[in-house]
Symmetry: C2
Subunit: 408 residues, 2 copies
Amino acid sequence: MARINEHFAKLPAGYLFPEIGRRVRAYQAAHPDAKVIRLGIGDVTEPLAPAITEAMHRAVDELGVRETFRGYGPEQGYDFLVDAIRAHDYAGLDIAADEIFVSDGSKCDSGNVQELFSLGARIAVTDPVYPVYVDSNVMAGRTGPLGADGRYPGLTYLVGTEANGFQPDPPDEPVDFAYLCSPNNPTGTVATRVQLERWVAWARANDAVILFDAAYESYIADPALPHSIYEIAGARECAIELRSFSKRAGFTGVRCAFMVIPKTVMGVDPGGKRVPLHALWSRRHTTKFNGASYVVQRGAAAAYSPEGLAQTRAQIAFYMENARLLRTGLAAAGFTSFGGIHAPYLWLRTRDGATSWELFDRLLGEAQIVGTPGAGFGPGGEGYFRLSAFNSRANIEEAIGRIQRVFG
Amino acid sequence: MARINEHFAKLPAGYLFPEIGRRVRAYQAAHPDAKVIRLGIGDVTEPLAPAITEAMHRAVDELGVRETFRGYGPEQGYDFLVDAIRAHDYAGLDIAADEIFVSDGSKCDSGNVQELFSLGARIAVTDPVYPVYVDSNVMAGRTGPLGADGRYPGLTYLVGTEANGFQPDPPDEPVDFAYLCSPNNPTGTVATRVQLERWVAWARANDAVILFDAAYESYIADPALPHSIYEIAGARECAIELRSFSKRAGFTGVRCAFMVIPKTVMGVDPGGKRVPLHALWSRRHTTKFNGASYVVQRGAAAAYSPEGLAQTRAQIAFYMENARLLRTGLAAAGFTSFGGIHAPYLWLRTRDGATSWELFDRLLGEAQIVGTPGAGFGPGGEGYFRLSAFNSRANIEEAIGRIQRVFG
């Protein structure tokens, strides 16, 4: 009798993005001529930079010749990529090459990282939150069934509000492992140095571990803001960091990311012995993963070449100009919004007491614009709405015009 | 206090391939001029087929142009690949497109699949066995600590012996989920139709689920042997199948594979309700994975074009001629071996009561050949030794000559 993992049943059937897809398809079926502009899912639209495609072509050529063919690579990633990451992203930050684990995506890394912790570990997430952090812990069995309040018993929720700038403080109760995303998906807000210092101090005082998801760090515009948690003294003792090439180099369909685990981040076993999480992740990564594609790793490394840096920075500047236009255009239409300065997401406050799904339906029905209802990111997202700056300039300008006509 | 997953500590520190690497490095340091031939790890050596590199180049070009750029793809894989898989690998076998899940590798799939089952589920593996099946279940907590007999209490071991042709029968005791690999890694032997019928009958009679790992199916030479478990009546009710492009198309560094889960394969929840495993895997795949690279999927699809099929079949024929030469060369040196007819692996019996590590050390020290000690695949592998046929013809011939000189 094949007994199943009973925890999957705790996840609601109607997941956020399929439900959005259903409503958009229904609208388009009823209005076949409508030109729908999609600012919902955070997917890039600019093509890969020439430096990257050139590197990928060279890699494909290498694999087509016996003398330069490569089979299995190191599961942790090739030295050429790890060294480039270290030199550019962690210069002066005391991160060793073997503390960097290349992967095929931050979604995988952020879903898999919970395997390092006991099933009895107490997990903290923000609310609103990137759903993978929550769902992967539900599937592992660390929660009860979804409550009527939209929360899973067993998780600690830290609510992001306008009052705290959507950057909640660390928890008061004991927690083993906390997920922190900055620049934040979905709110587009960013943690300051002082806020990160508070998190690191909390983790060290409580012997807790932080997962710092910095998938959007390349969108930070203010040089005073930290890009890495390791810019905070003491973070090497308590923090794991995620980075991704998805939004930084247009790799959403190419697939490359990495996780940093300093050897000094410790967990504790049931006998009270301190164990480096690095050793556990190394075992997990080499046992259940077989390395990112060689061609992809060559493309990712090219994002660090002088040409690659210039080209990808220009893409990011393009998206951030989209975000600025959206922000000012929405303000002119009377909307209050947050984020969008150090991240490609705007977090809109709904108006007239509308729920986030009501705003979704109105934007789709009256302006043919698809966004993401805040409630899809947790109960703390109710009353808010996420718009993405990933699109062509023409579509962004068209979207602003429509919103101003409908709501202005 | 970050409480860790205590089950990782049950895994021995000295993993098979790192230990092999350590001994080879030590030998080479002491004998810097020795020309070591590596027939250990099962990694391909022939370059990618031209049809595949051409498709990958085209895909890279598409990603470099705004009009043809693609971001996030479907987590389950693009239709162009899924349809090619279905048409070529499952023609007439009643597998729907949405029952195929493209991934970045069979190592990942075979490590992740256990997440579908209860932590209390009883797991059966063969011995010798591909280590990922065992280790992923140990990490999940389904076993006790490694016993002095080299086995984990809580797992059901089915021992492959010369008497059963290294194809053990299904278990007598109740089991929820069984891993079956054919053509087999490590033994290179293959299950017959009658043997697979027995497995399917057992699974249906016991309401159990089989994972059929067919990563090496393209090496099957006899048209009477099944390539897919779904060639067996009733398998749609009880079997999940894995396939990979690694050995079929030289993708060990490119990374692409797929899992087939018919919607008719059921598990049972704690309330006794029957639940399709397809729904659980779909949730797992979309929550913790973000699709294989677009460039890689285009390359994989090209393996099914007329040119791609011809070119990859020629590569497989080349490796299998290597296997034939090894088989006859080893027999001439007085070795008894198994497998190597429908798989690129030979399973050698050691001589004069040597352990598998003793043969390893002798082959390395006297013939400068690296293989894999059978004991690394479980206690049932003691007294045996795996040699891979993946190498150049010149190296295979040189290896045979050395073995004949040392042992002949």
